[in-house]
Amino acid sequence: MAWDRRRRRGSEAGLIGFVANNLALVICTVAALAVLVVARAQDASFDDARGWLNDTAAPVMELFAEPAAEVRRWGDGVSSFFAVYEENQRLREQIEKLRGAERELANLQRKVMRYEELLKIPADAAVTSVAARVIADASGPFVRTVLINAGRGEGVAKGQAVVDERGLLGRVITTGNRSARVLLLTDVNSRIPVMVEGANLKAILVGDNTGQPVLEYLPPGSRITIGARVITTPDGGAFPPGVPIGSIAAGVRVPKVDLFTTEGRADYVRILQYSAPVDVDETEPEAVPAGPKTQPTSGPSTTPTSPPPLPQAGAPAAAAARPT
């Protein structure tokens, strides 16, 4: 024991002495560094191991999740007990408001259905969903993820959108047989194609480990109003269109989004299984070069070799939709 202690105090002999006396530590540190480099270089290299380990740990986490939910319900009960009167008043007012909105909604639904029939708009691709429960919330300062108790066995696949009753929560990043990990919208690695309602602006919602993700890649000069709703777009083919995400936050320099979902409060979630309809034309499409972006000239194209481009229906409409 005394010899051991003397050996441990080898740090006094400088760095080399410390390294020599703690060879196991040095080897382990080098191994950890090597693993980290490999994991970063090839992101998918540990996916299977992660999935398997999550599956293994899932029963233990489910064991903890049930009493945790009970504690949370209890905590919620205590805090809402003191505000029960105000809550009641607020709910009454909300019911009145929603009754009016409901009637309007029914009218609008009928109208939209008629217009769609008239215009022969194809129906949206069907979205099926799987329900699951959040069994672990591993959100820390570096990563914002949750673990759910449904996996490949239930048809959950990488990239699928995860929602709760209020809106989009995140997307699936790794799957096991009976568990999956969900990357939340606030995670620094989260990138989601979104649309700002009203202005019809498309952007990428980028997480930055704070509660409010940022809108990036907005068209230059675009104007957005505070409070405008942000929803998913089917761009990229991962998410069904129109899932509510949040609203544009006020009082910040960069466009940030207040999420509808509250992090850490999700209990039961749904995983949306959506496959974007993709039509592949059998026939060779006519050679239509991309419309001239710089100056829309009224005359025919100046390039003599190609035939005059057909007017593209989408391009001017899209250009007009962008306010400058």
Binding site: R40, F46, G75
Partner: protein, 175 residues
């Protein structure tokens, strides 16, 4: 034949007994991920408390390999790139080990101050490493907040580890 089986069983029991700090820390870590969300602050870093405590008062119970396993477990549980927490914890372990003689008293207030220093340095190191790994500056507020929560949590958690250490050291002679 029976003797061999008994020896093997005893050996196994002894190994399990000696890895109790590791096993219990991992169990603690899993329990901390339960979706409770009672306080609006990040959960304390139990593994870092364990790493500091055992490096200071019994590295034999948590050797470097166990720290590596603990870090990898943390990486798998939280979803950070594999090796991230393993590297951070091993650096914190090495630092604590190298400064062992300076932490006077080893228990009580002295150890707490020592942990506060290690937790602050770990927060800075993990912020820098995280920024390198994710190739963008991470917002540091949450990282330092977690360090502060861990420092507060050190007192009660280290008491549990002290109890564990006492029972481990007294029972070791018996095994």
């Amino acid at each position: 034949m029976l003797d061999y089986a008994q020896v093997a069983l005893l050996w196994l029991l002894r190994r399990v007994w000696l890895s109790l700090p590791l096993i219990l820390t991992i169990a603690f870590m899993l329990a901390m991920t339960a979706p409770m969300d009672l306080l609006p602050v990040p959960a304390p870093d139990i593994a870092l408390i364990a790493v500091f405590f055992w490096a200071l008062s019994g590295p034999n119970f948590l050797p470097p390999v166990a720290v590596l396993v603990l870090g990898l477990a943390q990486d798998f549980v939280t979803g950070t790139p594999i090796g991230f927490w393993a590297l951070i914890y091993l650096l914190a372990y090495g630092f604590t080990l190298s400064q062992r003689v300076f932490f006077k008293g080893r228990t009580g207030f002295g150890a707490w101050v020592g942990f506060a220093i290690v937790a602050a340095l770990t927060a800075i190191a993990s912020w820098l490493l995280g920024s390198i790994v994710y190739t963008r500056w991470l917002p540091p507020a949450q990282i330092y907040l977690q360090a502060a929560v861990s420092i507060l949590a050190y007192w009660p958690v280290s008491k549990v580890f002290s109890l564990m250490r006492r029972s481990l050291t007294t029972a070791r002679d018996g095994l």
